[in-house]
């Protein structure tokens, strides 16, 4: 049984100009011990869709759809139960390791407090568990680290601490929103290796949200490509990233500088920019920038349908025979 099954997720956010649909019908499933990657640029709705699952949207937002987690539906769950689940069964790691840790509390305090709250351990038990967690994320000298404060650690170390806090209560699902975007590339490599090991050792399902296809290429098992609030392609990592079938996925991959491509060639840039949530074109949201668009694309929103081993939202499917 899947750890998380999202169906028909729609999110509307209040703005000064009225309500805006930011997520427009998203489905996906995450299996245990799997890294599920969600890729998208700005305005794709990838972060908002996660915030919706955890009840972290601003007031006045509207959420439709279901998100089955175990026997519960995260969307219709009463807030009190949702609060007890998040942090314990579902954990989240954010992009900025500077703001996700409390600057005035020692690392030990932040870890033990969390553990005592959700697991009811006593002080000694909580401390031992905290040291165990810090060792697991490879923080050198964990016992001394307990007494230090976040600002005394580098960005990469802080992110490891954030991961340790996230894993403290042995969650079934970890949601990581751009966890390495703010980090240097060598530090990022370390964090990706860490996440990979942790999910194997702890049978943890991971949802990894990022704009960086390289990151997904290295660590994800399956990926979902978001564009303008919808899923345009999803499937196995190798299928989608090596043999992309949706014109947007292909264009996104083409725009990246390839380590073996000749330098004289210009990068293939996609004209225009991703639409902002209030201004999504009718029909397929990508059609104004798509070289393969036909009339149908301008009026009909393409459904996400199974095509071979993957799911694709493009009836034109221009690269089918490759």
């Amino acid at each position: 049984m899947s750890t998380l099954a999202v169906e028909g997720l729609r999110v509307r956010l209040p703005t000064p100009a009225g309500e805006v649909t930011v997520v427009d019908g998203v489905d996906y499933e995450v299996q245990p011990a799997e890294v599920f990657g969600i890729a998208g640029e700005s305005g794709s709705g990838k972060t908002v869709s996660m915030l919706a699952l955890l009840g972290l949207l601003p007031e006045g937002s509207a959420v439709e759809g279901s998100a089955r987690f175990g026997n519960d539906d995260l969307i219709t769950m009463p807030r009190r139960r949702l609060r007890s689940i998040s942090g314990r069964d579902i954990a989240m790691v954010f992009q900025d390791p500077f703001t996700s840790l409390h600057p005035m509390l020692s690392v030990g305090k932040q870890l033990t407090e969390h553990v005592r709250l959700h697991l009811g351990l006593d002080r000694r038990g909580a401390e031992e568990r905290a040291i165990e967690l810090l060792a697991d994320v490879r923080i050198p000298d964990p016992r001394a680290a307990l007494r230090r404060f976040p600002h005394q650690f580098s960005g990469g170390m802080r992110q490891r601490i954030a991961i340790a806090i996230a894993l403290a209560c042995r969650p079934r699902l970890l949601i990581a929103d751009e966890p390495t975007t703010a980090l240097d590339v060598t530090v990022q490599a370390g964090i990706l290796r860490l996440l990979d090991r942790l999910r194997r050792e702890h049978e943890l399902a991971v949802v990894l949200i990022t704009h960086d296809l390289g990151v997904l290429s290295s660590v994800a098992d399956r990926v979902s490509i978001f564009y303008a609030g919808r899923v345009v392609e999803s499937g196995n990592r190798a299928d989608v990233l090596q043999r992309p079938r949706h014109p947007y996925t292909r264009a996104l991959l083409d725009a990246l500088p390839h380590p073996e491509a000749p330098k004289e060639q210009d990068l293939v840039a996609i004209g225009g920019a991703p639409p902002s949530p209030g201004r999504i074109p009718p029909g397929c949201a990508f059609h104004p920038r798509c070289a393969y668009a036909v009339d149908e694309c301008r009026s009909v929103v393409p459904p996400l349908v199974p095509v071979g081993d993957r799911r694709l939202a493009c009836p034109v499917d221009p690269f089918a025979d490759e």
Binding site: A5, V22, K46, T47, E59, V63, I75
Partner: protein
Amino acid sequence: MTQVAAEVRIPRRRFSLGAAWRQPLAIAGLVIAAIWILVAIFAPLIAPHDPLAQTFTPAKGPSWDHLFGTDELGRDVFSRVIAGSRVSLPIALVLVALAMTIGSTVGALAGYFRGVTDGALMRVADLVFAFPAIILAMVVAAVLGKGLFNAALAIVVVAWPSYARVSRGLVLQVGESEYVQSARLLGASSRRTLFRDVLPNVAGPIFVLATLDLASAILLLSGLSFLGLGAQPPKAEWGSMVAEGTQYFQWWWIGTFPGLAIFTVVLAFNFLGDSLRDVFDPRTVRRVEPE
């Protein structure tokens, strides 16, 4: 499992004061302020009686003939309240304009030249800040002597440092900004960037401060008059009228209506200032950044 769940809405907190809620307040503020300004302009035409004229019907409660009643000398309170707008409003406007000009210039100079100039100027400002406004204003007014003009001067002395602080802070902050650095890299002189880049960014918050300060100025002016240091009898000034009212408590209308006048004007300018702040400060405007 295939059934799509009903829509879930996240309810608004009941007393959230978002930008949307402020709009009616801002409009109310604008309307009230506008009414008072019109009253001040057309005062002689609106007032039914001569504000200084004593009649033979002293201490009469509100009636059709005297909407706000008459005071202990038989003067029409309504006309006096109207006349009072001609005193408080223009003086407050002028003194705030003066304090704003002096204060922002001092602050801008401090921020621009820094070093010793900065230190000296801001220490003077700090000195003024060290005293509670009303106390200092009282002292200065007492030293200068009674009268509205001196009271106004006293308030200017007390009010200018807030502008200096805001203006200095902004000049420093904007001066370090990347767009000013870019302009300087392109060969613009420091002076040129001061006027083209820095000051336009300083003007907004200074004007917000001024609008809010108008409310304080009117309050201070009335306060000084209440204490006998500002307007002198028989001048119709709201503060001194409230003072009269405290002496004749049984005739509640003498002090209440001028007090209400002060209250509504101060409130109006506060609402206006608040909404102006929302307009200028991007952080208070609730923005949704979908991602």
